[in-house]
């Protein structure tokens, strides 16, 4: 498997995801600096977490307009799998690859802790090693993870099975209590229509080693490795 992890100025979780992919697939993804002329051939494109351009103006906004994102869009349109985690999700939304936007957390504070996530749809390259209804423990680390879209968009996402994960309680209840950041309908991650693009706020790459507290994220990387082997 050849994966390309795109590094923007201010990205900071690129090595975390490189390690997770490496552990799952046995091959080390390539780090691609945003300013490098062209995107190398890749079976998977990753937009990692961090604070691209300091998250100034709006999270992900400036990175979304960087030239390399045109290339990412073109590849995604042709079917190349793309995963955006945290800041990567914000970039995907700002660039129009995914609908909606990530607003400031409802409590207005940065939040770093393990949250419970309910798997909504396992019918994708990324989620097929889970079962719908599985409850995962995965960390979040963000200040702007409050997913917002208008009702029409939300209905469409739900109707088309494009909600990947929702915040929930430890028992799997999708309630306000289990909502980590105020996201509309507890949404933590979504797909594009073709389900080759996944954006999610939590960090599965930080949940792949029992020593670090959880292995809930491992099946996601195993699934990717298996599908793209």
């Amino acid at each position: 498997m050849k994966a390309a992890v795109i590094v923007f100025p201010g990205s900071n979780r690129e090595h975390d995801v490189v390690d997770a992919l490496n552990r799952a697939s046995g091959s080390k993804p390539q780090l691609v600096w945003h300013g490098e002329g062209t995107l190398p051939k890749a079976d998977l494109i990753v937009l990692p977490g961090g604070f691209s351009y300091g998250d100034y103006l709006r999270t992900g906004a400036i990175a979304a307009h960087s030239p390399i994102m045109r290339e990412v869009k073109a590849r995604a349109d042709k079917g190349t799998p793309v995963i955006g985690i945290c800041n990567g999700f914000q970039v995907l939304c700002e660039s129009g690859l995914l609908p909606g936007v990530l607003l400031r957390n409802a409590a207005l504070k940065f939040i770093c802790r393990n949250v419970d996530l309910k798997v909504e749809n396992s019918d994708s390259l990324f989620t097929r090693r889970y079962n719908p209804g599985d409850v995962l423990s995965v960390p979040v680390a963000h200040g702007d993870g409050n997913y917002f879209a208008d009702n029409e968009t939300l209905d469409r996402l739900e109707g088309e099975g494009r909600v990947a994960f929702r915040y929930c309680t430890a028992e799997g209840a999708v309630t306000a209590e289990g909502n980590a950041n105020g996201s509309a309908r507890n949404i933590a991650g979504i797909f594009n229509a073709r389900k080759n693009v996944l954006g999610m706020m939590p960090h599965p790459e930080n949940a792949t080693d029992p020593r670090l507290g959880s292995t809930s994220g491992k099946p996601l990387f195993d699934a990717i490795a298996e599908a793209l082997a």
């Binding site: 604070f51 409590a107 670090l212």
Partner: protein
């Protein structure tokens, strides 16, 4: 001839000005005087503290570089070194908590990566005023957001820290930040300039009129008109810092750099003077070439600006282009602003005019040094437990677990990204953070600690205790403590009683470091922490670093399984003087703090570490604030598992037994208590079984069981509730 003194001596005394005249042989220019003023400020020259700092042990078989450079460097084997330091940003944080704390983090990061290290962890030690003081909430909110705002953005996990509240910090909060980095032991970068003719290169953010005279401000007391004295506040730009880290580390992979130094306090002045001074060279700068973001800046302003995210380097002449290419990639300025000379003089030009021409060496070598009068703190009486109000265990425990100094800090650490980089094995909330080293089974145990109420009662014991507590915390996770950094926060050193606190604390620290083979490799001093003559409780904050040989052989504080034996290691004598019980329950801050037996500390700790690495214990926690019952409650909450206590025959009153703060103690759990007791006692160390894990409560004490649910509520509720009124601010 009589000297006419300028109206504004910029904080220098008349005697110091006389010394300037002697060095210069003429009256200094405005710019030259500014340079003397910042270089001779307390903050940069350590003029009140140096004599005493020199008494600390700073060497050891692992020490690669002790105090004197930007940060300390310690060998951790396999060609790797750990580089770390702590620094204060007390005054700026009081004036503007968010930016003050944020730029404090930025500054300490630069001290560490300037030596070639990749920063892998941050910690912070915070002290705020009484919770009921009108400013406290605002300061807590701003400082915590600032530390998170900066650290989260640069992608360095904030893995630990400590927070205290006490009225003595009402007008003077303390914000101490520590950074830990990793480097190749044979690729350490130093600040001594070399090679006359070599280019002096400025990299990073542009210079503005930020924080001019910040170093002098950090050396002055606050008074009523502090609000008036606000200099332009420095604003941090963590995004630029992140790029600066990556660019510097990338350049450090090449052979381009001869010397490098961050621009911290006193900016371009201290970096250029220190680099040239250490290399015994002169330096000539054309200030017109300095990247500036404001118009018409004078030489004085450029030299004294404390704009953030800047570094100064000496490069090999044929490597300028290489450096340029790397900094271009990160879209950062990289400009040659001068050259090294053989003249031994600092020469500054601005608009074709020489604005300063002064000898470099005397600026540091002839800086004033004071042996300030110091008065020992009078001994406090020993408190007899029988004279201290006894309260039933459940009431006292619940109150203590929810008191400001013991309540959960979750509200704080959840605002810090403690996971980024993917190596955080033990998160905030335990005795010490544990961070794995990339591609290795090894790890580091990291902690900051200090107990100011002990320091004020008995500076020597307090200084000693701060060192010992970090040592114990590292030991409790299974780490081998290898070295410390310190941050000495005190009041006005011109007062003999304050200077006496300083001298006492240093002496206690020295004795502890010597006894534990635990050298001081870097540090920082912050004096004049006073408002209207009211000094803070002295806080010699210690940052400890420990080495973990195998991250799969560590311990954490939570009870692991029901039915395990709970054993207390070390002697329990029921010392209540200067304890939290005395303060929170009996309402008194009196009494001598607990005594420390350094030999016993070492003996007990070495055994505990061995038990952990040999896999003989299932959980471990050291005992400190609040004593035995608080320690048990913390282990129970962390493991979400209660305990049936069966207390042995006590020779002291129950409340002293349960809440006394005797030192040198640990609680461990094990599946085979009898065997473990035998092992421990075989070493000549006191140990007793106090109960068995299990159930949803702490039972076995007189009175009703104390449910974990109610303890958790008391413990978790206080801080969020206190802060909720400030959420939006």
């Amino acid at each position: 001839m009589t000297t006419t003194y300028p109206n504004d001596l910029m904080g220098l005394s008349r005697e110091e000005y006389d010394r300037v005249l002697a060095i210069m042989g003429r009256e200094p220019s405005h710019t030259e005087l500014g340079i003397f003023s910042v270089m001779w400020s307390e903050h940069c020259s350590y003029k009140s503290s140096k004599k005493w700092l020199k008494t600390l042990p700073t060497t050891g078989p692992r020490v690669i570089c002790g105090p004197g450079e930007n940060a300390g460097v310690v060998d951790i084997g396999e060609g790797q070194a750990v580089i770390f330091k702590m620094e204060s940003h007390n005054h700026p944080s009081y004036i503007e908590p968010y930016q003050g704390a944020a730029t404090g983090v930025g500054g300490i990061l630069r001290d560490v990566f300037t030596m070639g290290a990749r920063p892998i962890a941050n910690l912070n030690a915070l002290r705020f005023g009484d919770p009921s003081h009108p400013k406290t909430r605002h300061l807590v909110a701003g400082v915590v957001a600032g530390i998170g705002g900066y650290g989260n953005c640069v992608g360095v996990p904030t893995v630990g820290g400590e927070t205290n509240f006490h009225a003595s910090y009402n007008g003077n909060c303390l914000v101490n930040a520590m950074t830990v980095g990793i480097a190749r032991a044979d690729r350490i970068f130093y600040s001594a300039a070399a090679g006359p003719g070599n280019p002096v290169v400025y990299v990073g953010a542009k210079t503005g009129r930020d924080g001019i005279h910040g170093a002098t401000m950090a050396s002055a007391e606050f008074n009523e008109d502090a609000e008036e004295k606000r200099p332009t506040v420095q604003v941090g730009d963590p995004f630029t810092e992140k790029l600066l880290i990556e660019a510097c580390l990338e350049l450090m992979e090449t052979d381009a750099i001869v010397a490098i130094q961050d621009m911290g306090a006193a900016g371009l002045t201290s970096s250029s003077v220190e680099m040239a001074g250490k290399g015994n060279l002169g330096i000539e700068l054309n200030l017109d070439l300095v990247p500036m973001r404001e118009e018409a800046m004078s030489a004085y302003e450029i030299m004294l600006s404390e704009s953030q995210e800047r570094m100064l380097m000496v490069l090999k002449p044929d490597r300028q282009e290489l450096a340029q290419r790397i900094f271009d990639k990160y879209e950062l300025d990289c400009v040659t602003i001068g050259t090294l000379t053989t003249t031994g003089r600092l020469v500054l030009k601005r608009n074709g005019k020489v604005e300063a021409d002064m000898p470099v060496q005397p600026i540091s070598e002839q800086a004033p040094q004071y042996d300030r009068p110091h008065m020992a703190t009078p001994r406090k009486p020993q408190i007899d437990a029988k004279d201290v109000k006894a309260v039933d265990a459940a009431t006292a425990l619940t109150k203590l677990m929810g008191c400001p100094d013991l309540a959960s800090r979750r509200w704080i650490w959840e605002q810090y990204d403690y996971l980024v980089r993917g190596h955080t094995v033990q998160r905030p909330g335990g005795d010490a953070a544990v961070v794995r080293l990339p591609d290795s089974q090894k790890g580091l145990a990291l902690v900051v600690d200090c107990t100011p109420r002990y320091c004020v009662a008995d500076p020597e014991m307090g200084g000693m205790q701060a060192v010992v507590e970090t040592w114990r915390n590292i030991t409790a996770v299974g780490g081998l403590p290898i070295a410390i950094t310190d941050n000495m926060n005190f009041g006005n050193p011109e007062r003999p009683e304050i200077m006496g606190q300083f001298v006492g604390c240093i002496d206690g620290m020295r004795r502890a470091c010597e006894a534990l083979d635990y050298p001081v490799v870097s540090g920082n001093v912050s004096l004049y922490n006073e408002t209207n003559g009211q000094a803070i409780l002295p806080a010699p904050v210690i940052g400890g670093v420990g080495l973990i040989a195998d991250i799969d052989r560590t311990a954490s504080i939570g009870f692991k399984a029901a039915g395990e034996d709970i054993i207390v290691i070390g002697e329990t004598l029921g010392h209540l003087g200067a304890s939290l019980y005395l303060r929170e329950i009996a309402g008194s801050e009196d009494g001598a703090p607990p005594a420390i037996d350094l030999a016993a500390e070492r003996h007990n700790g070495d055994l505990v570490r061995r038990l952990i690495t040999e896999g003989k214990v299932t959980a471990c926690h050291d005992l400190s604030d609040g004593g035995l019952l608080v320690g048990l409650a913390e282990m129970a909450l962390a493991g979400n598992l209660g305990a049936m206590l069966s207390l042995p025959n006590m020779l002291v009153p129950m409340h002293a037994f349960l809440f006394g703060e005797d030192q040198g103690r640990y609680i461990v759990t094990t599946t085979d208590g009898a065997h473990l007791l035998q092992t421990i006692r075989g070493e000549g160390i006191a140990a007793m079984k106090v109960g068995t894990t299990g159930g949803p409560a702490l039972t076995g004490l007189p009175g009703a069981p104390i449910s974990l649910a109610s303890l958790r509520q008391a413990h978790e509720r206080w801080l969020p509730q206190f802060m909720s009124a400030a959420d939006a601010a």
